[in-house]
């Protein structure tokens, strides 16, 4: 059972456009949602994260919008740059002391110059 789902599987945007990556989850106990960015040949690295008490988290050109009622969140990348081309993973964890992370299958983003 996939606890975290992402869409689309791949996304292509032009430089300067806004890329929107979607994520949804099943478990109401999840309260922390990090997004990881992965470049080819590297491991994923934390990009930005949000807690369920917030509905928005911004860091430069990257913004997470969170809808707790619908169990959905999205990552918006404004003014997309070719250097943003990477795979983005949405993840979730619960405040149970167990501290495991559940990952979506990722969205591959390509930004065309």
């Amino acid at each position: 059972q996939q606890q975290v789902r992402q869409s689309p599987q791949s996304l292509t945007v032009w430089e300067g456009e806004t890329a929107i990556l979607n994520c949804s989850y099943e478990n109401s106990a999840f309260d922390y949602f990090p997004w990881y960015q992965q470049f080819p040949g590297e491991g994923p690295a934390l990009l930005i994260a949000i807690r369920s008490v917030s509905d928005k988290k911004e860091d430069g050109r990257f913004t997470i919008f969170f809808n707790k009622r619908e169990k959905k969140l999205s990552l918006h990348i404004t003014d997309s740059q070719p250097g943003d081309s990477a795979t983005y993973f949405c993840a979730a964890s619960a405040n149970t002391g167990y501290q495991n992370f559940y990952f979506g299958k990722g969205t591959s983003l390509t930004v065309i110059p």
Binding site: E42, G43, P44, L46, S93, N95, G97, Q99, N100, F101
Partner: protein, 116 residues
Amino acid sequence: NAGVIQTPRHKVTGKGQEATLWCEPISGHSAVFWYRQTIVQGLEFLTYFRNQAPIDDSGMPKERFSAQMPNQSHSTLKIQSTQPQDSAVYLCASSLYRGSSGNTLYFGEGSRLIVV
């Protein structure tokens, strides 16, 4: 801080042979995770150690996969009788453990295993 170190970076092994992958977590991190990454399945959780003790191995294929953490500075993932479907990038990650959510996973660069 050197980050999470994984060796080997690439390994080609024949079907039926054994493969052992190593991970050195970031010093001071008490939680170590192993994931398998493929195009089709994405990031699949395999197993998780905390303070060297196995906490959850629910993602491990039971028959041929095993993981150990003999000391706080390294963990190993062993695959016996490797099969072509084991071909993947195996990622190790470590984090501090604070007993709550919000911890950051720090990933290594991965070990790419190819079974021919």
